[in-house]
């Protein structure tokens, strides 16, 4: 029986990076896996991302960034999420994020970093396995 609970995912592109093909591919894949995906387009500020996550009450946020600005933007995003009380949202990231930064990102609270070559199946699997329970 189909449960009415759907996984709601925000796919966001922070910063000035305008490469959106990856984000769109992931968004469509998650949709095809039965999730409701909110895609907000390019050039999102951390404030826009955090506020969108709040209004849309998402379970998961996927941050896509290829410009190298993750070290500046991700801490701001994670801190805003915390400030807004969105501590039960699972955040993952993808794009061009060097392996050596991945640990730092995880310490900020980003659960997983997916590099180029990650299959959409792997991302779908990860989201389904790690989406936080709602009481």
């Amino acid at each position: 029986m189909q449960s009415t609970r759907k996984i709601r995912v925000l796919i966001a592109k922070p910063g000035l990076d305008s490469h959106d093909r990856g984000a769109k591919v992931v968004a469509r894949a998650l949709r095809d896996a039965g999730m409701e995906v909110i895609y907000t387009g390019l050039r999102q500020t951390p404030e826009q991302i955090a506020e969108t996550a709040l209004q849309e009450d998402v379970d998961v946020i996927g941050l896509s960034i290829l410009s190298g600005a993750h070290k500046t933007l991700f801490p701001r995003i994670m801190s805003l999420l915390k400030k807004k009380g969105l501590t039960d949202v699972m955040v993952f990231a993808g794009g061009i994020i060097p392996q050596e930064d991945a640990t730092e990102m995880k310490e900020l609270g980003i659960k997983e970093v997916f590099g180029p070559g990650t299959t959409t199946e792997a991302i779908i699997r990860y989201v389904i396995d790690n989406v936080p329970e709602r009481s």
Binding site: R31, D32, E36, V37, Y39, T40, Q55
Partner: protein, 319 residues
């Protein structure tokens, strides 16, 4: 996770997190949904609820963004519910209406929620009506509901909105004639967006012709407006018309009373139907020859309606 009372209190105080949680609970049909809707219902009825529909590509989201800005300039608070279709095959949805409205997301007096239809028919989601109630109770002056209205069946919006705006654009491929009676009859305001295109005036004339053919003796004569959403041209006039319709609805108290009674009756009937249908279905599945008849339907030995009749006539098995 906050308790239901906290969420209700938060909604009535206009707290955005509470509004978001309340809408989710309603969408997911969680047990607390009933309590929340019950608690906020007495606080509804103040917002102007506007439905915006029309074919994809007409520029609805871009236009909505401009409309919201205009209302904000007037000092009004706004809620937006943007509905997109759920895939009947995967159950998923791509909710992209926010893309055009994202500059508004950090305005604290604008609340935008994307909603998937979850296969509910008619262009809305089952939860849309109650989500609108939450935004109304939270104190939003205006609530805009955006739906996809490409076909003739997208008239669910009339059960939710007080003012219905049909947005068209020239040269979208579907001729005005293809817009079936339903949408043409329920729209209170017609908008031809992308009016800077060449055939915009022809589109206006086509709508005029359709309206003349369909003209019943209406007190409110639906105006046809031209807008260019990208530049904002025509938007102040559109908002002025929205206010005019609002005043018209407020003024015509007889008509308004009838409308409200009809709406309440529909909502009550639907609620009764839903509750009885699900409890009867549960009972039949448990006690009746449900599986057996299902197999017979698959083998084409009986049609579904006759099977239903059989099930309903059956005396319950003694367990």
């Amino acid at each position: 996770m906050r308790r239901t009372e906290e969420i209700i209190g938060g909604v009535l105080a206009g707290d955005r997190r509470s509004i978001a949680r309340a809408i989710s609970i309603i969408e997911n049909e969680q047990p607390e949904a009933h309590e929340i809707v019950s608690a906020v219902y007495p606080h509804t009825g103040k917002a102007h609820i506007i439905g915006l529909t029309g074919p994809g590509g007409a520029g609805k989201s871009t236009l909505i963004e401009k409309i919201v800005r205009e209302y904000r300039q007037e000092g009004k608070t706004v809620g937006v519910v943007a509905v997109d279709p759920t895939s009947p095959f995967t159950g998923g949805a791509f909710l992209g209406d926010r893309i055009r409205m994202q500059d508004l997301s950090t305005d604290e007096d604008v609340f935008i929620r994307s909603m998937a239809s979850r296969n509910y028919p008619g262009g809305l989601a089952r939860a849309t009506k109650n989500a609108v109630k939450v935004l109304d109770a939270a104190g939003k002056d205006i609530v805009l509901v955006e739906t996809v209205g490409a076909g003739q069946s997208e008239v669910e919006i009339i059960k939710v909105a007080q003012t219905i705006v049909l947005i068209q654009a020239p040269g979208l491929g579907d001729e005005i004639q293809a817009i079936k009676a339903g949408l043409m009859e329920i729209a209170d305001i017609f908008v031809v967006n992308k009016a800077d295109r060449e055939n915009a005036d022809k589109t206006v004339m086509d709508i005029q012709a359709m309206l003349q053919m369909n003209s019943k003796d209406k007190v409110w004569k639906p105006p046809i407006l031209k807008t260019v959403a990208l530049s904002g041209e025509g938007v102040p006039q559109l908002v002025e018309k929205l206010w005019e319709h609002r005043r018209f609805l407020e003024g015509d108290t007889e008509h308004k009373k009838e409308l409200m009674k009809a709406t309440a009756e529909t909502e009550l009937a639907e609620a009764i139907k839903e509750k009885t249908a699900s409890s009867i279905l549960e009972k039949l599945k448990r006690e009746g020859k449900y599986e057996e008849l299902l197999q017979k339907i698959l083998k084409k030995e009986i049609d579904p309606t006759s099977a239903a009749e059989k099930l309903l006539k059956e005396k319950p098995r003694k367990t």
